[in-house]
């Protein structure tokens, strides 16, 4: 390896730069093309892409918004440290994504909602649950998804390019924000398709090169267990000693399912715990569900889910194995254990497994392809950030802004949504130094542990809301609150005491931190469920007339539904109508003065796709007429059977791989 000594390799040759430029041109071209395909001026057009998407943009978009730069850095890093079990996080999603398409999306579609808090509002009534859900979702976006993606993007840029992190990340955020603001969901989903191709192609190339370098799959199996760093003795024996298990590769490194008590990822946790966290991520989270709601019909949703499932088979081969190869090839750097050595290699003391993937890119890839890998990382980073930006702006405008200003019309909502994206970009940028300071050993574990303390109550409430008619508002609310308190009881001590490292275990009392976080997720899920059911059965039920097409058993019901939130919607409509009239009266007065808008405003308006003319607010009769038109979830029986059979085939393939690596 001629490059192992040189830490930073700047990309400055013609081949690399031209690859990156071509990549950007393609993305921008697709973004512009898709922008003109849909109407971006309305809520449905901007946030749901006009509900016209076919299956392949749905599937690839699900994949691209899921795979972020956090996967390349975190997944490969954890794999380098402890083997393939972390791939279970990816492969569990194969089944969960089918749950999304077959169980959850039909209900969301018939409910006719845009956001998840909106669904809970229709299902339970009241507004405290939806407010809580929108706030905790925004919180989770900022503190787990955005910050982790940006951190790992920064790690990559630092390792591979030696650029200034602030300049690079701010530039990336601006590019992402640009096409999120201008394009809306349709542009996002089409560019996501391109990004998926780039991610997969680039990662495949890297996988090929790294397997070639290590000498094939069987060589990896042989060499991984003997990949030890050369410096295993403490340079400062008075302060700490290094025990053997900190630098020895795990014996069960090539097993997905590990011992339930001593394993680092115990198998009941990998199967059931991850399924619970996964069902929050895939089935109840705005980012993912919004993509499905944009599809043309339920069959397209299901086909998209299957496509995404097949794509999710790849991360094991594209990221997990290369991460382990990186440790075999560079045991001194990636597998470092002595504090001062680690500090020299990657600037942190606890370990350098995070640099596994960037290290491979820098050392193994030839000129020209290094630019491709940069494009891959940018694609992963931009696609997942853009999805989160779009969805958080949907949440903010539809659930929080309409509460503050019920008279807001489409045009105002569009403007607010775009301004909110800029706010999020600002918050994320402020967050970089914090993320940099808190660099810890294993990134993937950090995301998963935070989500497993906060997400299971949400998953439990959604499951019960969809399957159990008896659950009512107070049950759901107190369940969520109880679950939040239980989760915080675990999360706060862990952050106060620190998660510790192998050399210096944290002194968090075992009673609190001893339970594995995946076990804790299972526990939390069932405690919340019991609490929800207990409170619900002690309070009056919700009548059936409010629940038609909102629960799974009543999804085909055609009876009229009396919405629990109709009062609030009615108030909003009235406020909008009044505002309309006021504006019209004012318009008549200063018709002459107004004349023309400034050219600048016109350009901005065209750029963002905000049209000036607006359809008048529907009257009372039009609203009742519209509510009679039921959302359609019927399927062509032939295509229904085809997607069902395909789902079965996909599950079989998935089960085979689980068995193969078990």
């Amino acid at each position: 390896m001629e490059n192992t000594t040189a830490k930073h390799v700047t990309i400055n040759n013609a081949a690399d730069i031209s690859v990156i430029i071509i990549y950007f041109l393609v993305v921008i071209a697709v973004g512009i093309w898709s922008t003109f395909r849909t109407n971006r001026g309305t809520v449905g057009g901007y946030f749901l892409a006009g509900r016209t998407m076919v299956w392949w943009p749905v599937g690839t978009s699900l994949f691209a918004s899921n795979i972020g730069s956090g996967h390349f850095v975190g997944l490969a890093g954890t794999a380098a440290a402890s083997g393939i079990a972390v791939g279970g996080f990816e492969w569990n999603a194969l089944f969960i994504v089918l749950l999304l398409g077959w169980v959850f999306v039909p209900v969301y579609l018939t409910a006719g909602v845009i956001t998840m808090p909106q669904y809970l509002k229709k299902r339970f009534g009241g507004s405290r649950i939806s407010l809580y859900l929108s706030i905790i979702s925004l919180f989770l976006y900022i503190f787990t998804k955005i910050s982790v993606d940006m951190f790992s993007g920064a790690v990559f840029i630092q390792q591979a390019l030696g650029w200034n992190i602030y300049v690079a990340v701010i530039a990336l955020l601006c590019i992402t924000a640009l096409y999120t603001v201008t394009g809306g969901l349709a542009a996002l989903m089409y560019t996501d398709t391109v990004q998926t191709f780039v991610i997969i192609a680039g990662a495949f190339v890297l996988m090929g090169f790294s397997f070639y370098e290590v000498g094939g799959y069987s060589a990896l199996l042989e060499k991984y267990n003997s990949s030890l760093p050369s410096q295993t003795l403490s340079l400062n024996p008075n302060e700490y000693n290094i025990s053997q298990h900190c630098y020895m590769p795990r014996e069960d490194a090539f097993h997905l399912l590990r011992d339930p008590t001593t394993g680092d990822l115990p198998w009941p946790g990998v199967i059931f715990g991850i399924a619970i966290i996964g069902s929050w991520y895939w089935c109840t989270d705005q980012v993912i569900v919004q993509r499905c709601l944009a599809a043309r019909s339920l069959t397209h949703v299901k086909a998209g889910c299957i496509l995404c499932g097949y794509l999710k088979l790849l991360p094991m081969f594209l990221m997990v194995f290369p991460g382990m190869i990186s440790r075999v090839l560079y045991p001194d750097d990636v597998g470092c254990v002595e504090k001062s050595v680690c500090n020299k290699v990657c600037g942190t003391e606890v370990g350098c497994s995070n640099i596994a993937y960037p290290k491979l890119v820098v050392s193994v890839m030839p000129t020209g392809l290094r630019g491709l890998m940069l494009a891959v990382m940018l694609a992963a980073l931009m696609s997942s950030l853009a999805s989160i930006f779009n969805s958080s702006s949907t949440l903010f405008t539809m659930d929080i802004w309409t509460r503050i200003r019920p008279q807001a019309r489409d045009k105002e909502l569009m403007v607010v949504g775009r301004v909110w994206i800029l706010c999020i970009v600002g918050i994320s940028t402020c967050w970089i130094p914090v993320v940099q300071a808190a660099q810890s050993g294993q990134l993937f574990d950090y995301i998963q542990s935070v989500t497993s303390y906060l997400a299971p109550p949400i998953a439990a409430v959604f499951f019960l809301a969809i399957f159990v008619k008896r659950v009512n508002e107070s049950g759901a609310f107190w369940g969520l609150m109880g679950g939040l308190v239980m989760g915080l009881c675990r999360m706060v001590p862990e952050f106060v005491f620190g998660s510790g490292s192998c050399l210096k275990p944290s002194n968090c009392p075992k009673v609190i931190c001893g339970v594995h976080y995946l076990y804790f997720a299972i526990l939390l899920f069932f405690c919340t469920a019991i609490l929800v059911l207990f409170v619900s059965y002690n309070t009056p039920p919700i009548k059936d007339k409010h629940l038609h097409r909102l629960v799974f058993t009543l999804r085909h019901s055609t009876e009229e539904r009396v919405d629990l939130d109709w009062e609030e919607e009615e108030r909003g409509r009235k406020a909008r109508r009044e505002a309309d009239e006021k504006r019209r009266a004012k318009n008549d007065e200063d018709q002459i003065e107004r004349g023309e808008q400034s050219i600048m405003m016109k350009i901005i308006g065209w750029f963002c796709g905000i049209s000036d003319t607006q359809a008048p607010e529907p009257t009372e009769e039009e609203v009742t007429e519209a509510s009679k038109q039921l959302p359609d979830i019927s399927e062509n029986p032939l295509w229904k059977n085809i997607v069902n059979v395909n789902a079965l085939i996909m599950m079989t393939v998935a089960v085979y791989f689980w068995g193969f690596y078990a």
Binding site: E251, D252, D259, T261, T262, K469, K510, V511, G514, V515, T553, L554, H556, S557, T558, E559, L648, M651, T652, V655, Y656, F657, W658, G659, F660, Y661, A662
Partner: protein, 111 residues
């Protein structure tokens, strides 16, 4: 019961640190065989659930015979039948047949 004792019980419950199984890495079966076995078990379970579904849930010849009776009765009474048992589906205690479509047909024939 003193506090130390209860703390000790918590330890026992949550940790299970005593498990000192030094698991050997050797595989009893080759990879591909475990995969095939897993697939076989999975397909078997799917087959069983398919059979169960066919046997219990929707038997397509039955509903024609049963449902018209039930609807004739519900239609006959001047008050709308609100008892859920009349329209309860065989699918499960919380599932109900879709009454609307059939009711309109029934009305035509009754007249």
């Amino acid at each position: 019961m003193g506090k130390p004792v209860s703390v000790f019980y918590w330890f026992l419950l949550t940790l299970g640190l005593v498990a000192a199984q030094a698991e050997t890495a050797g595989r009893a079966l080759p990879n591909w065989l475990t995969g095939i076995i897993a697939v076989a078990v999975f397909l078997f379970l799917v087959f069983i659930s398919f059979l169960v579904n066919k046997a219990w849930c929707n038997n397509p010849s039955q509903p024609e015979a049963v449902i018209p009776n039930a609807y004739a009765m519900t239609n006959g009474s001047s008050i709308h039948e609100t008892s859920l048992d009349a329209v309860r589906s065989g699918d499960g205690p919380n599932m109900y047949e879709n009454v609307i479509v059939h009711q309109t047909e029934e009305k035509v024939t009754a007249m």
